[in-house]
Each structure stands twice: as structure tokens, then as C-alpha cells.
Symmetry: C2
Subunit: 342 residues, 2 copies
């Protein structure tokens, strides 16, 4: 193919130039606005045919579905989301559906703007992963576009579907495991900001608190919030590990935080688990690497993604009742939480 110094994409401007009319006039013809003369219409249509003007997504969508699902991700750094997306892809493998991902950077304003954009772009449905918006907003979104949500606890809503693991049970499993292995001063590192019950970290905090009480460790309950940036997490963990009453174990709300905790512990010359046990959540691919050997809760991210996609397609196909799928979490024990030497 000979290099060309000019793109040959046919746009509304090309059509206008060819027909010798204004862009506004072409737009009127395309929108079938009032007051368009038959002569103008014929002229513009002739140019569109001659130039092989590509029919718009909108125009094609009018004939049916676009077979595109929008996915709203909080960020690109958490490896857990790749597991969820693998499940979504698995569900869609034999369908015509494609996905397009918007990244909200955990900001509600970006979330809303991306959702508007996805509706404008004719997505057939929306999968939101751990969104920041309050449940009223999620409900309002679901009245505009078929919606499934992963990692968001709204079992009362009928207008959308959800796929979750039981976060309360997962956190309780971590505490019981650590307590059984001889750890008492168990501190939880959680995500700063969220206070709403819909959020997974708030559910995990509840499970942590309940299990600490159940094991007679109420006096050791300590929940430390940290932002998601590497710097914030490392500062919070360092502060904890340098404190006079250093925790014996850290339960981190997600593996990324636990990986940073492993790093800080190593920097401070602490051995894991000799001086400090560390447990994560999500059982991402990094847990299994020998240099991490990180105990973590497997919430079956791939299953969650698969279920969310299936539920969404059922919803697109017309189901109107809410379907709320919950999977049981499973603790995967590795070296970072071996029994404490007594």
C-alpha cells in the first residue's frame, strides 16, 4: 500500500464539501430535521452514496443491538480486576458481545460522565465494578441502561443485578485462621473514605470486628484506613510496624496493600511470618509467587465476572426481577501466615 499523507476517512465535512452545501445542512438531512427541501436531501444523499459515507453506529443500532457492553473499572492498578474481566470474557466467548472499558479513577464524577458516554455510544448494558456512587445513583443508572454490578452490596434493589462474594464471611475466615495460628494483635488495613454498607471494605470491616469479638480479641480491634496510592499505604504500614505495640498480624483489605506490607516489613528487617503475619484479599496471581507466598482470600473473581456478564445478558433479554449472586469466599493459606512460634 502506498503511503498517503492524508487520512481518507469520510466525514460529514467531506460530504458537505462534495455536495457544495454547509455542514449544518448535511446535519439537518441526517437528523431529518424539519424544513429540509427535497432538493437538498437528494443532493446530500447523492454525495453520501458516492463517497460511501460509513453509516453511523447510531444508525446501525436502530436496527437492533450494538452487542457492546460497557465496563466501568475503578482503576488499572489492582490486578484483581483482570480476574473479573477474564470471567466476563469467558461468558461472552461464544456470543457476539464485545466490551469497552472506562476507568473512573475512583471518582464519582468520572463514573457518571463515563456512564453518560457509554449510553451515548449505544452500549447494550453496563457492568460496574466496585463503583463509588451511592445506591440511589446506581438504581437511577439502572433505569437508563441494563446494569450488573460486581463488588457492591445492594441485595434490596430489583432494577439491577449483582455478583459478590460474602465479604463479611471472608474477613471472618481470615481472623479465625490467624487466631487459630496463635496471633492475637490482628490489625486490619482498610480503604480510606468509604463508609457506606454497599462497599466491600465496609463489609470486610464488619466481618473482622465480629470475628475478633467471637475469638475474645475485642480489645485488639484496630482498623487503620489508607488511601490506595503506594506512598499512602507504605506510610500507614510503616507507622504501624514502627509503633510500640506492633501488630502481630496484618489483615489487608486487598492483595496490593499486602504486597506493600511485605515490602515494608522486609525493609524494616522483620521476618514474615516470624515477626509479623500478613494476609491479603483477592488471591491475585502475585500471591503465588514464592517471594510473596501470601495467604489470601479467594473470592473467585473470574466467577464473579462470568456471573455478572450472564446476568446482564439475561437482563438485556428482558428479565425484570433483581438477581443477586453470592459466592462463598475461600481462604488460601500460604507461608505468610504460618503458625506463630509460641
Amino acid at each position: 500500500m502506498a503511503p498517503t499523507s492524508k487520512t481518507n476517512r469520510v466525514t460529514i465535512k467531506t460530504v458537505a464539501a462534495d455536495a457544495g452545501v454547509s455542514v449544518a445542512a448535511v446535519s439537518k438531512v441526517l437528523r431529518d430535521a424539519y424544513g429540509v427541501s427535497d432538493a437538498l436531501r437528494a443532493r446530500v444523499q447523492a454525495s453520501m452514496e458516492k463517497l460511501n459515507y460509513r453509516p453511523h453506529a447510531g444508525a446501525r443500532a436502530m436496527r437492533g443491538r450494538t452487542y457492546t457492553l460497557g465496563i466501568l473499572l475503578p482503576d488499572m492498578r489492582n490486578p484483581f480486576f483482570a480476574d473479573i474481566l477474564a470471567g466476563v470474557n469467558e461468558a461472552l466467548e461464544r456470543t457476539q458481545y464485545q466490551t469497552m472499558i472506562g476507568v473512573s479513577r475512583s471518582a464519582e464524577t468520572i463514573e457518571m460522565s463515563l456512564i453518560d458516554s457509554m449510553i451515548d455510544r449505544q452500549m447494550d448494558g453496563l457492568i460496574m465494578i466496585g463503583p463509588r456512587m451511592p445506591p440511589e445513583t446506581a438504581e437511577a443508572v439502572s433505569t437508563r441502561i441494563p446494569t450488573a454490578v460486581v463488588g457492591y452490596h445492594v441485595p434490596q434493589l430489583a432494577t439491577l443485578d449483582t455478583a459478590n462474594n460474602d465479604d463479611v464471611a471472608g474477613a471472618a475466615q481470615v481472623v479465625r485462621h490467624l487466631a487459630t495460628n496463635g496471633y492475637r494483635r490482628i490489625t486490619m488495613v482498610t480503604l480510606a473514605v468509604p463508609t457506606k454498607n454497599v462497599v466491600v471494605t465496609v463489609q470486610r470491616e464488619r466481618g473482622y470486628r465480629e470475628a475478633m469479638k467471637e475469638r475474645g480479641l475485642a480489645q485488639h480491634i484496630n482498623i487503620v484506613p489508607a488511601d490506595q496510592t503506594a506512598r499512602e499505604v507504605q506510610t500507614a504500614v510503616r507507622h504501624l510496624l514502627e509503633s510500640r505495640h506492633r501488630p502481630e498480624a496484618l489483615f489487608c483489605w486487598t492483595d496490593m496493600v499486602a504486597l506493600h506490607a511485605l515490602s515494608v516489613a522486609k525493609d524494616l528487617g522483620l521476618s514474615v511470618p516470624g515477626d509479623l503475619a500478613i494476609v491479603g484479599y483477592d488471591n491475585t496471581i502475585y500471591c503465588d509467587l514464592a517471594q510473596n507466598s501470601l495467604t489470601s482470600v479467594d473470592q473467585s473473581g473470574q466467577v464473579l465476572g462470568l456471573q455478572a456478564a450472564r446476568l446482564l445478558i439475561e437482563r438485556i433479554d428482558g428479565r425484570q426481577q433483581g438477581d443477586h449472586f453470592v459466592v462463598s469466599p475461600r481462604l488460601v493459606v500460604r507461608g505468610s501466615s504460618r503458625p506463630r512460634p509460641s
Copy 2:
């Protein structure tokens, strides 16, 4: 807001039902097809107005840009891509532009189908990251939609822009650093399949080969291909490390591979760098964690993303010449490649 058991999104079906005509008839009116009677048009338009039928993305796009850029990613597992996307977001921060991401799973057929879909969805431009397609195809894509590419060497093309690091120089830096630190049997682990010069791994293989010759280590040149899956990478590395002539150092084409190599070495009881030096590429956030302490080449992913987005917007604004940005790579030395004890 009272829960509702039904989405209230107005679709073409709603309009057809309200107007008491077929969906096909509404579609004809919307497409301004030939043979639509004035009476039918008036009836359908009245229903659309009454129901406040949401104007389509396409119809709005006709009035100008959609301010949405498509991004084509090979996969969601490589943490390097998050750096590139952070740069893209930085470039777009003060603009109206949003991004939507499609994940090709490194398959050319999925790439092409996503690109069609992005063009259909009225994206103003496209950023491709390490695409699999041959340069002729990339050129053809760029004649359909303004295009910038990251991690793809096509300096000869004028119809698209690129942002790259000098992969030949980056790989050569790794070899020179290892050779200076006393390592001679330096093996490169590369990505299976690609053989085209446009691909970053092929460029890095060239840099590795040239620098090995330059340092008088031609007899030790060994390039081992592996797929990107965890299992494939670990199998290939294990095979190497259990062989009779175990390499003294591994140069891995990307950090993810190097992290797996660290894990296999630890599993086999090899100390890093005592028994084996390991170097990665991309200088992702995991390199800095103390449990990895991984020497890596920083190719300034964020700068590449930023430049690609800037170049793309210039291209959308009308620039027609090709602009090919190249940043110099920089080796970041950490514990995994300390001088070899002699």
C-alpha cells in the same frame, strides 16, 4: 427514589409501540429511508418527542467531535500498561476528552473487530498499545481514524504517530550493566511468536545480540521464547535454571516475566543475585517492592502515554505529517543484579 421493576429507557421499540407502527417503520423514519410517507414521519416524530427519545451518539456526533478516544490494549495483566494509561489521562486532564479501552487479548482478529467497533462508536481517534497487526494493517487503520501507537516501531509511516523508547538501546544497557558486574552467561527470555521488526521484543533481541557481541560474549547468546501465561513463563525459566549450563543472569523482556523468574529461583533454592542475576524491563511499581528489588529498564511509560495522547490530538486537529517520538531508556539498578562475587 421508589424502586421500579422495569427500566424506563426509551428505545426504538417503545417509540414503535407508542406510534402504533412497526419497529422497521420507525427505523425507516430514523434513517430517512426512501418511501417514507409524510404521515408516517409525522406520527413517529410526535411519539419521539412525547417520549423524549434520547438522541443517539451518532446524531450528536454529527454536530462535531465526540471527545472520546479509543485505546487498544493487548491485555489487562501487564502492569506496564497502567503507567501508559496514567500518562494518557495526564495529557487529557484539562481537555474534554474521555477514553474507552478495548482489550484485544493479543489477538489480531479481536484487534480488528474492536477497531471497527470504535469507529462505529464515533471515537475521534485511536491509541494502540503494542498491537499485533502488521504495519500495512496499522497504516490502513490510520486512514480510517486518526491513530497514535505506543510500543510499535514504524518510523517510515506518515499517516500515524508513534511514541516509543529506544528498545535496542535499552536491551544493550542491560547487557553492558550485567557484563560490567561480572556476568557472562546472560540469557534473554523473550516473547514467543513475534518476528516482525515493528515489535518491541524483536528490537530488544537485536540490542541484546549486539551488546553481547560488543562485550565479547557472542558464544553465550541465547534467546529463549515463552508465551505470556504464568505457566509457560515458569516452565521455560525452570527448564533454564535446571539445565546443566545454568545461565548466570536472565534478561527478561518485561517485568512480569522477571517476577516469575524470581519466584522460580526462590523455589529452586537459588539466591538472587548470588546464584542468578535477574533484570526486567518497564520498571513497573512491583520492581521497587523489597521482596523483588528488581533491576529494570525504565522506558517512561507515563511519558509515552502522554506523548501519544498529545500527538493524537494534534493529528485530530489536522496535522498530516508523521511524528515519531522516541524517549531514551534508563536502567534502574536494584538488588537483583548486584556485582557477581568473583
